[in-house]
Structure formats: C-alpha cells, structure tokens
C-alpha cells in the first residue's frame, strides 16, 4: 500500500533520514518511533504529499502520494485545530466526507445519516452537537478518528494521536484504530513516542534516529543491541511486565542547560511511555 525505495529527506545540508526502504501492507500496523527531531513529522508529511523527498521514490497505492490523499485517513496532532474554529463534533466529521468540495451541498439528508453512523461507530453520538472546543482531549480524538474514517480510507495515518490522553482514553482510541484495521484491512501508520499503549497491536516498528533507522518487529528492533547500534551509544532496553522501557537513548542533540535546575543527566531514563516522573 505504501512503498519507499531509497527514500531520503533533507533540509539543506541537514539529512533527516536516507536510504529508507519500506513496504507497508494492507492490514499491517506500523508504529513509527524515534526521538524528537528524528523526522517523524516529516515522514507523515511525505506520506501526505506535502513534503517532497530529496531522493528516492515514495508511492501510495501505486501512485504519487498527492493523488492518493483521498484514500488516507489522517488523524493530526491535537493542537492542529484552529482556536477560532466554531464547529460541533458532527461538523468535523462532515468535513471528512465532503469538506473539500466546492459549491453548495446537495443530498444533505444522506450526508447527515452517514455522519450519524460514523459518530455512532466511534462512540461519539453523545456529544455530536457540542462545540468542539468544549470537548475533552479524549472525546475530541474519537471525533478525529471518525473524521478520518469518513472517507472510507485504505490507510489510516495517525500523528501522535495519544498525546496528552489518560490511559483509558488511550486504550479507547487504539481500540478504535485496531477495530477498523481488522474489519476493513486498513493499513495503519501510527506515529508515537509511546510504544506501550499499542505494543500488543504493532506488527512492525519503524524506529527513526539521527544516525539511521531500523525496521522490523518490536522484538527485533526494540533490543539493547539494535538501539545501541542505531544511536552509537550504550542504550538499554528493559522489558518489565510486558512493557518496554528504553534507558539512555539520547533525546535531541544535547542542549546546553540554561538554568541550573534544568541540568539533565545525560543518561536519563527516557521512557517511551506516557508516564514521566
């Protein structure tokens, strides 16, 4: 469904990633991991055709990504909604169906029925008419997934959909995504810095790091050996009660601390899990 061959992306002299070889199949759940600045967001933009590759090829459903955008259901980061948006939950879903069309809307009743169905399927019927800026993060994310599913997409592209959600809502959102994958064989590309909420669902992991990337099953990629090699420094991967904790992965190129109380331990525990100390 998605195919990258020798793909590279750079901003001027700074290479974000290169020589990327990847095929995503139908019904596959691919988690994209990596520290900040490793090019996760650029990866999303490239898939949406909003970012040109600097080398190599990328096809989505056998076409250039821009032409396939109709078949990608996109769940953006939470902050993406304009603060001035005056919308209800149902309007956001409706955008997913026909928001891109010019001219006046015809066949209103059919569209409204479809919106109701979608809201029902993501469990958002109870707040369909509430203005979107009054919804909680978890409720909004359900609506977002409804919006992404409105086009009946063959690929679901989620950019940090679990950010700032509590555990219950994280589970609810991942279950919605997983249910869609199973019922419609939709491929899922799930960008996240928290692998644990989706660990049980993930088929493969794309781990992006400043020094390169790794692709494989979580068991192959999330090991001390693999990540140490990737980062070029000692990184320990510990598995506790079915959770993965990465210790010692350098986040960001080291920043000079400006304030004494922000001094960082270079080997701080970088848990790729929402729970921070």
């Amino acid at each position: 469904m998605i195919s990258l061959r020798g793909a590279a992306l750079s901003y001027g002299p700074r290479v974000v990633w290169r020589d990327l070889e990847l095929d995503v199949r139908a019904r596959e759940f691919l988690a994209v991991l990596g520290p900040n600045g490793s090019g996760k967001t650029s990866f999303v933009k490239a898939l949406l055709g909003r970012q040109q590759l600097s080398a190599g090829t990328l096809t989505v459903l056998g076409r250039p990504p821009r032409e396939a955008s109709r078949h990608i259901g996109y769940v953006p980061q939470q902050a993406a909604l304009s603060a001035h948006a005056m919308l209800r939950a149902r309007d956001l879903v409706r955008f997913g169906i026909d928001g891109h069309r010019f001219g006046l809307r015809l066949r209103t009743a059919a569209v409204r029925r479809r919106v109701d169905e979608i809201l029902e399927s993501v469990g958002a019927s109870g707040y369909a008419d509430v203005p979107i800026n009054l919804l909680s993060g978890g409720e909004r994310q359900r609506v977002r997934i409804g919006q992404a599913l409105a086009t009946d997409p063959r690929i679901l592209l989620c950019d940090e959909p679990l950010l700032s959600l509590d555990l219950n809502h994280q589970r609810a959102v991942t279950e919605l995504v997983d249910a869609r994958r199973r019922s419609h064989r939709t491929a899922v590309v799930f960008v996240t810095h928290e692998i644990n909420p989706v660990l049980g669902l993930v088929d493969r992991v794309l781990y992006l790091a400043p020094g390169g990337y790794r692709v494989g099953t979580p068991e192959e990629v999330l090991t001390s050996e693999s990540l140490s090699q990737l980062y070029g420094t000692q990184v320990d991967v510990v598995r506790v009660h079915g959770r993965v904790v990465v210790v010692g992965a350098p986040d960001e190129p080291a920043v000079e601390p400006h304030h004494p109380h922000e001094t960082r331990d270079p080997l701080e525990v970088h848990e790729i899990d929402g729970a921070r100390p």
């Binding site: 955008s69 993406a80 001035h84 948006a85 005056m86 955008f95 891109h100 001219g103 219950n168």
Partner: protein, 293 residues
C-alpha cells in the same frame, strides 16, 4: 424647553418621515445587500482571525475612494480598486499570521495618509469628505447602487462557491491540506472577496466603522451558536438589522448614520454575549458530570 430636549430633537425628529423614506429607497436596498454580504464574509473574518486585516483594507479603500472623489470619477470604483490592492498585498505578503499583522500595520497608516492628502486637495462639498470616513446614506445614488448591487452579487457567488472548502481550510487547516484542499489559493481568494466586501461596506458606514458590519455581527452570532447553518444566518440577520435600523433612525436626525449602526450592532453583540455565557455554563455542566471511560 430643557437642554436635553433640545439635543433630543436634534438627534430625532420624525416630521415628514414618509417623504424622507422615499428618498432613501436606494439606500435601503443597498443596505440589505451590504448586510447580507457583510454578515456572510464576517463569519470567515472571525474564523480566520482577520479583524485587523479588515481595518487595514478599509484604510486603503478609503484612499482609493478619496482619489476617485478628487478625480471626479465613481467613488465606489475607486474604493474597490484601493481595497483589492490592499487585500492582494496582504494576501501575498502575509501568509503567516505574524507577518500579516505587520504588513497590515505598515499599509494602514500609508493608506490613511494618502486618503487625507486626496481629501485635502479636493475642493468639493465637505459632506462628501466626511462621509467616506464616517458613513452616509444619501450619497447612494442610482449608478452607485447599480455598482453596489453588482459587486455584492460577485461577492455572494464567490462566497457560496468556496463556502465549504473555505470553512474546512479555516478551521482545520492541517487535515484540509491533507485532503487536497488548496489552502493557500483559498486564502488568497478569500482576501480578494473580503476586499470587495470592505469596499462596499465603506459606502454606508464609512472607513472607520467597517468593523461594525464585518466583525461584530458574526462575532455576536458565534457567541450563541456553532451550527454551520445558524451561524451565517444569524450573522446576516444581525448585520441587516444593524444597517437598516441605522438608516431608518438616521433619517430622522441630523447626525450621520454610523453611530446608529455601531450602537445597534454593539447592543446585539452584548446581548449575544450574555446569552452565550449561559450556553457555555450549560455545556460546562455537562462536562463536570463524571463520564464512563
């Protein structure tokens, strides 16, 4: 007679009202058209956070209108030319909100300065000069009405055609772009449309008070509804009520139309704000009830 009575009679005197009404028939028609497009365009002004742009465009529109006055050509055409120039510049140079505000801040005093220059050179009737800044009703004669209605129709058609993708792009730009909505092009197209709407509004409420037609009604409506049907509808109703109410009240008085329009539209806004805070509390109550995960 007390002083208060004297002032009152200066502001309101409804003798011969019927005859006056016949004189402003054109104004009432133009007012309805302006209320319609002002109310509709205002929805996007609020959604896209453009009140400052409206103000900036109106100053250049004022410069265009005063140039036309000086050259003794059609004031509406001059006003439209100035508006489009300003809207185009803001659209090209101010893609990001931060750049946009400084571009506007630079254009605005320049436009106002030009306008003052042209008016200073103009030797005609003083009422014409004042009217461009603070509004007038009798200035709307038949050829002007034709221009106003024609341009209103253009704005109306443009808004209807791009309504849906523009709403999508204004409130949810990331997903809109991902879905292939031409976000940039729409932004520019809306700027030009807004320029036309501003040029039209100036003919009735004047350059300084355009915001009362293009911002206040939509902002008031947004306080009480988030429905995509009710929002533009209420906004239009508020704008038409402000402008027609203003014309009818100004008719019986010696002061310009704009204080009436701005007062009516402000009162509507205040009322909507009150009603809106009740509504938010109602939704707020829903939020605080414990919810099953």
């Amino acid at each position: 007679m007390t002083l208060a009575d004297g002032i009152w009679h200066q502001i309101f005197s409804f003798d011969n009202y019927g005859e006056l009404l016949a004189l402003v028939r054109n104004s009432l028609i133009a007012g309805a058209a302006l209320g319609l497009i002002g109310g509709l365009a205002g929805v996007f002004v609020i959604m896209r956070d453009l009140p400052f742009a409206v103000h900036g465009i109106s100053e250049l529109s004022f410069a265009g209108a005063s140039a036309a006055l000086l050259l003794e050509t059609n004031v509406v055409v001059g006003s439209i030319a100035g508006s489009l120039l300003a809207a185009g510049t803001i659209g090209v140079l101010g893609v990001r909100a931060r750049d946009r505000n400084s571009v506007i801040g630079i254009l605005m005093p320049f436009g106002l300065g030009l306008g003052v220059l042209f008016l200073a050179l103009y030797k005609g009737r003083a009422a014409n000069k004042f009217g461009l800044l603070t509004g007038q009703i009798v200035a709307v004669d038949t050829p002007q009405t034709t221009w106003l209605l024609g341009t209103s129709a253009v704005v109306l058609i443009a808004l209807m055609a791009m309504w849906r993708p523009l709403t999508f792009a204004s409130s949810d730009p990331d997903v809109a772009e991902a879905r292939g909505v031409p976000v940039r092009a729409l932004s520019f197209a809306f700027m030009l449309t807004l320029g036309l709407a501003v040029a039209l509004s100036i003919q009735v409420v004047g350059a300084l008070l355009v915001l009362s037609l293009l911002v206040t009604p939509a902002a008031a409506a947004a306080r009480v509804t988030a429905s995509p049907v009710l929002l533009p509808l209420l906004s239009v109703v508020f704008a038409v009520a402000s402008i027609e109410g203003g014309i009818l009240l100004a008719l019986g008085s010696s002061i310009p139309i704009s204080p009436y329009v701005t007062t009516i539209s402000f009162t509507i806004y205040a009322a909507c704000r009150l009603a809106g805070s009740y509504r938010t509390r109602r939704w707020g109550a829903r939020r605080s009830t414990p919810q099953p995960a």
